[in-house]
Amino acid sequence: MTPPPALSVRAVGSAALIVDLAGTGEVLALRAALEREIPNGVRELIAAARTLLITYDPAATGHEALAAEVTRRAAAVTGGATGDTPGAAGAALAPLTVPVRYDGPDLAQAAALTGLTTAQVIARHTAPDYTVAFAGFAPGFGYLTGTDPALRLPRRAEPRTEVPAGAVAVADGFTGIYPRSSPGGWQLLGTTSLPLWDERRDPPALLVPGRTVRLREVPR
C-alpha cells in the first residue's frame, strides 16, 4: 500500500474548515467515511473536485479537535482510495438514463481539439457509466465523474453569458448538465429535455451525489 497522500486542513473562518486532497476519488472517500459516522458538531459536507469543505457548529466543536479527527479519518480512507467510492445518498437510487441530442455549438471544436470525429466524440461520451460526484454552481448542477480522458477539455476562454437549460457539457474532466439557463464556460456538446430540477419533487434534483448516470444519444 502506498502511503497516504499529503493532506492539509485549513480554517475557513470560525465555523468551517477545508481539506485539500489528491483528487475527486479521495474527496468522495472521505465524505463517505464522514457521512457514515458524522463527527460531533459537523453541519454540512460540501465536496468539490479536490477539496471537502466541512461546516460546523463552533459551540459544539472547534478547529483543532475537528481537524485532528478529520486527519485521522482521512488517513484511514485515502491510503487505498482509487476512483469513485459509493456511499453518498444517490448510490441507493436507480441509475438515471439521460437522453442527449448531440447538437451543441462546441461539438465540432471538441472534435478538433481531441483529434476525433464528431461521431467518435459522441461514441466516447455515451460509453461510460458516470457517477454524480458532487453538486454546485446552481441547484441541481451535478459534476459527473467518469468522462473519457480523451474528452478532458478546458473551459472556454470566454464564458457564454447564456447557456440554455438542458445543455450537456464537458470541462476539466467532468461532464455536467445545466438545470436551467445561466451563464457558463463549459464546452457544450448537446442538449437534454429531461427536467433535472423540480422543487416539487423529492429530492428536487435528479443528479444526486453517488447516483449512476448514463447518457444515451437520441436523434437531433
Binding site: T51, A88, A205
Partner: protein
C-alpha cells in the same frame, strides 16, 4: 422557476400584508434552507439573521417564521387585520435591523419594540440612518408556500418567492406562540465605520505579502455593486503570489473571494455553494450580521481575531 408571491389577489383577506411599495428591494426571508448544499443549494436566509430572529421574538413568532427584509427602506405596506366575523381588529408587528424613520398612518414608530396595528393602517419606512436592511415581522407571519423547508428568496438561485412587488398580498398565518411580554429589546447601534474580524485563509497563500498586509491595514469601501449574494469592496488591488486556476471549492457566508481584478467580494446569504477564485480570508461568524448591514459607501476595516 420560483413561485411568485401571491400577487394581485382582489379578495380582501381578514389578515394580510398588502404591499403598496416595496422600495428598492424587499424580499421574504427566514432562517434559510441549510442542509441542501449537496444538491447545489446555498443556505440563503436573512442577511442579518439575529435581527430577523429578534423581530419574530418580539411578536411571539417562532424564530424561523418568515419576515420582510427591506433594503434601504422605502417600504410601504398596508396591514389588514379583521376577525373571522369581519370586525376590525389589530395585529402585532415589529421592526428591527437597520434603524430608519418609520410611521404608522403618519405617527412615528420606534425600532425593536412590538407595536399594534389597527386594520387598514399603512406602515411607511424612510431611508435607514445606519446599516442597510430592516426587518418587519408580523404576528403569525406571511403564509406563502415554502421551498425546501424555507420561505427565503434566494436571488442567485431563484428559489423561493419572487422579490415583493406593489400589489402583492401576503395572507398572515394564525399566531404560533404567546406574546413575549417585553416592551423593548435593547440593541447596540449599527456603526458608520465597520470593523469586521477576518480569519486568514484558506487561500491566503495565493496572495503576496503586500496583499495580506493591505487586507488588514487599509480601509475598504463597500460599493453600490452589492446585493444579497455579496458586497463588492473597493480598495488597493490585492496581488497574487501565484498564477493559475483554482478548482472550484466550497464557499461559506463571509468568504472574501478575490477575482483576477484584485478587488474582494464579501459573500453574503445568497452566495454560491462553490466558487473558483481564491479566498484570502473569512469573516468571523459573530460578525456576519454586521457584514449583512454594510451600506454602499461604508468604510470597512478588517482585523485578525484574537
Amino acid at each position: 422557476m420560483s413561485a411568485p408571491a401571491v400577487r394581485n389577489v382582489r379578495v380582501r383577506r381578514a389578515r394580510a400584508l398588502v404591499i403598496l411599495d416595496p422600495g428598492p428591494l424587499t424580499t421574504l426571508q427566514d432562517l434559510g434552507r441549510p442542509g441542501w448544499a449537496h444538491l447545489g443549494v446555498t443556505a440563503s436566509g436573512a442577511a442579518d439573521l439575529p435581527s430577523l430572529a429578534l423581530a419574530n421574538r418580539l411578536v411571539g413568532n417562532p424564530e424561523h417564521t418568515a419576515a420582510l427584509e427591506t433594503t434601504y427602506g422605502g417600504l410601504r405596506v398596508r396591514i389588514d387585520a379583521r376577525g373571522a366575523d369581519g370586525a376590525p381588529g389589530t395585529v402585532w408587528a415589529a421592526l428591527t435591523g437597520a434603524p430608519c424613520p418609520a410611521a404608522l398612518d403618519g405617527r412615528p414608530l420606534g425600532m425593536d419594540v412590538p407595536f399594534a396595528v389597527a386594520d387598514g393602517q399603512v406602515l411607511a419606512l424612510g431611508a435607514p440612518v445606519a446599516g442597510l436592511r430592516t426587518y418587519l415581522a408580523v404576528r403569525g407571519g406571511p403564509e406563502v408556500p415554502a421551498t425546501l423547508g424555507s420561505r427565503s428568496t434566494d436571488l442567485l438561485s431563484g428559489l423561493g418567492p419572487a422579490p415583493l412587488a406593489a400589489g402583492d398580498v401576503l395572507p398572515l398565518a394564525p399566531p404560533g406562540g404567546a406574546m413575549p411580554g417585553v416592551d423593548l429589546a435593547p440593541r447596540a447601534a449599527l456603526p458608520r465605520d465597520f470593523v469586521l474580524r477576518v480569519v486568514p485563509g484558506p487561500r491566503d497563500d495565493w496572495f503576496d505579502a503586500a496583499a495580506v498586509a493591505a487586507l488588514y491595514g487599509e480601509v475598504w469601501t463597500a460599493t453600490s455593486r452589492s446585493n444579497r449574494v455579496g458586497v463588492r469592496l473597493a480598495g488597493p488591488v490585492l496581488g497574487r503570489a501565484r498564477a493559475g486556476e483554482l478548482p472550484a471549492e466550497g464557499m461559506v457566508r463571509g468568504a472574501l473571494q478575490v477575482p483576477p481584478n484584485g478587488q474582494p467580494i464579501l459573500f453574503l446569504a445568497d452566495h454560491p455553494v462553490t466558487g473558483g477564485y481564491p479566498v484570502i480570508g473569512v469573516v468571523h461568524a459573530a460578525d456576519l450580521p454586521l457584514a449583512g448591514q454594510l451600506p454602499p459607501g461604508a468604510a470597512v476595516r478588517f482585523r485578525k481575531p484574537r
